[in-house]
């Protein structure tokens, strides 16, 4: 039985796994203690639960439990990593290298860094969405303190060459931070093998709760420190003050444990399902996958349906929840900066839909999505003057479009 609408926007957020909810429940009521209360059982229970979660998380990403700093989510982790390194390593330099397709939490933090006297290089990406390693190495100066490149992209799912990036960083004595929000819990992420110094991720992208995330901060080879961006009681080894969100942390821990245990099975199932969805949708004339299909997260596909506008298309597929690279609602009318960075023309960027599958997505739901999207694209093309022109063989670039 299908229930509507069907949720295929799992890059935005995922539903909480019932096993995670079950683990969290006791920590709202009975075991409500403050993990920083050292003098009674309520505090000890909370601290034990937090320590256990640290181990579950550390086991997923192959680090020491001591290297996990809890935050409110990936945005905070991104801020803490970039601003914290910028402040802590000010005597070494003030230059940061990132890429144009990063999440806004990284890009806007970098803009802030520029305002306070830092220098930031924004690397372009190729049509596949990948950065150029040679360009990265050339961008490094004696003032470079941090390379910030995301693991997997939220809009197109493209996975950057993390190990090659970390090798370059190491060679030049530069720290490497990665926003791995879309990758942790979805694909194997190993901070040792990957050579990562700092890494941001969050609970709600991997079937955990919202409002909790973590920053991995390496303690050995090299020992990395970040200046706290939140002052207070000195929690989390002084790097992030604030009473710990114990139920959230328990949830994040459980989500990591399940991810580790189910990853192989989930990945195989999801990538087969995604490939089927993609294959079927590509039978629609003039449809194109955006970004690398080789280096990509298993559960994501981003497809442009030429001559159909994304927001109009989303309205036509209202029984499925997806997102679009079109931004007709924003004041700027600018389509996705990520798709534009991949070199897509504005009209193709406006015509895109992003599908994100989850552990809970069923074959039946994918079947429905396929037929629903096919119908909607056909209906909207029937209404599209651009489609008519295309069919008549008119080159749309030959038309002088009104200033708009």
């Amino acid at each position: 039985m299908l229930t509507f609408p069907i949720y295929l926007d799992n890059n935005a957020t995922t539903p909480l796994d019932p096993r995670v909810l079950e683990a969290m429940m006791p920590y709202f009521t009975g075991k409500f203690g403050n993990a920083a209360s050292r003098n009674h059982a309520f505090g000890w229970h909370a601290e034990e639960a937090v320590d256990y979660a640290r181990e579950q998380i550390a086991s997923l990403i192959n680090c020491s439990p001591k290297e996990i700093i809890f935050t409110s989510g990936a945005t905070e982790s991104d801020n803490l990593a970039i601003k914290g390194v910028f402040e802590m390593y000010a005597s070494k330099g003030n230059h940061i290298i990132t890429a144009t397709t990063e999440h806004k939490a990284v890009l806007d933090t970098c803009k802030h860094i520029e305002k306070i006297g830092g220098k930031v290089t924004y690397l372009p990406v190729n049509a596949e969405g990948l950065i150029d390693l040679k360009q990265l190495e050339e961008a490094i100066t004696d003032k470079t303190i941090l390379i910030s490149i995301m693991y997997g992209n939220n809009e197109v799912g493209v996975i950057q060459p993390i190990r090659e990036i970390s090798k370059i960083a190491k060679k030049h004595g530069v720290l490497f931070f990665t926003d791995a929000t879309q990758a942790v819990g979805k694909i194997p992420v190993d901070v040792e093998a990957d050579g990562i110094d700092l890494m941001a991720f969050s609970g709600h992208k991997m079937y955990g709760p919202k409002g909790v995330g973590a920053l991995y901060v390496r303690r050995k080879n090299p020992r990395v420190k970040v200046t706290a961006q939140m002052d207070g009681g000195g929690h989390e080894r002084g790097m992030r003050s604030g009473t710990l969100n114990v139920p959230g942390i328990v949830g994040l821990g459980k989500a990591c444990e399940i991810a580790k245990q189910d990853m192989e099975k989930d990945t195989a199932r999801l990538s087969a399902m995604r490939d089927r969805l993609e294959r079927e949708l590509l039978t629609i004339e003039e449809s194109y996958v955006n970004g690398s299909r080789e280096h990509r997260l298993p559960h994501v596909t981003n497809i442009s349906f030429k001559y159909v506008e994304g927001e109009g298309l989303m309205m036509g597929v209202k029984d499925i929840a997806v997102s679009s690279g079109s931004a007709c609602t924003s004041a700027s009318l600018e389509p996705s900066y990520v798709l534009k960075a991949l070199g897509l023309s504005d009209d193709l960027a406006h015509s895109s839909l992003r599908f994100g599958l989850s552990r809970f997505t069923t074959d039946e739901e994918v079947d429905y999505a396929i037929s629903h999207v096919k119908e909607a694209v056909a209906k909207l093309r029937e209404m599209s003057p651009l489609w008519e022109m295309f069919k008549e063989g008119i080159d749309l670039n030959s038309i002088e479009w009104a200033e708009h």
């Binding site: 159909v308 506008e309 927001e311 007709c328 504005d346 209404m383 599209s384 008519e388 708009h404």
Partner: protein, 137 residues
């Protein structure tokens, strides 16, 4: 963002989708917007010897509000004289469809499309083109 019932109705049951023969002298065609901006409207009118619009058709590439605005425009145009059609203001469309502020540009585009179709008709029939107000979006 939630769409109004009227926008949804026009989107689900668009009125007057189609194409008129643009080579005919009594057909005026307006093509406005740009693919890069995410909306393009083509609006066509057929005018009889008494300057009455007897038919109107549209095709639109755009969001639901853009489709609804052009669909509504064709409904309003049919039966109106060319002069009456010129008086259609984008704010009338905003009001009828209950468009939110971020979607006002869709109504502006529809008004531009009407004026542009009328101008095409005028020029074809030896009349001077009217001054087109610059679209403000």
């Amino acid at each position: 963002m939630a769409y109004s019932d009227k926008v949804i109705d026009h989107y689900n049951n668009p009125r007057n989708v189609g194409t008129l023969d643009k080579a005919k002298n009594n057909v005026g065609t307006g093509l406005v917007g740009a693919p890069e901006c995410g909306d393009v409207m083509r609006l066509q009118i057929e005018v009889d010897e008494n300057q009455i619009i007897t038919d109107a058709k549209f095709k639109t590439f755009g969001c639901g509000s853009a489709i609804a605005s052009s669909s509504l425009a064709t409904e309003w145009l049919k039966g109106k004289s060319v002069d009456e059609a010129l008086a259609i203001d984008n704010m009338d469309i905003v009001e009828e469809l209950a468009l939110p502020p971020v979607k006002i540009h869709c109504s502006v585009l529809a008004e531009d499309a009407i004026k542009s179709a009328i101008n095409d008709y005028r020029v074809k029939n030896g009349l001077p083109a009217l001054e087109m107000p610059k679209s403000h979006h």
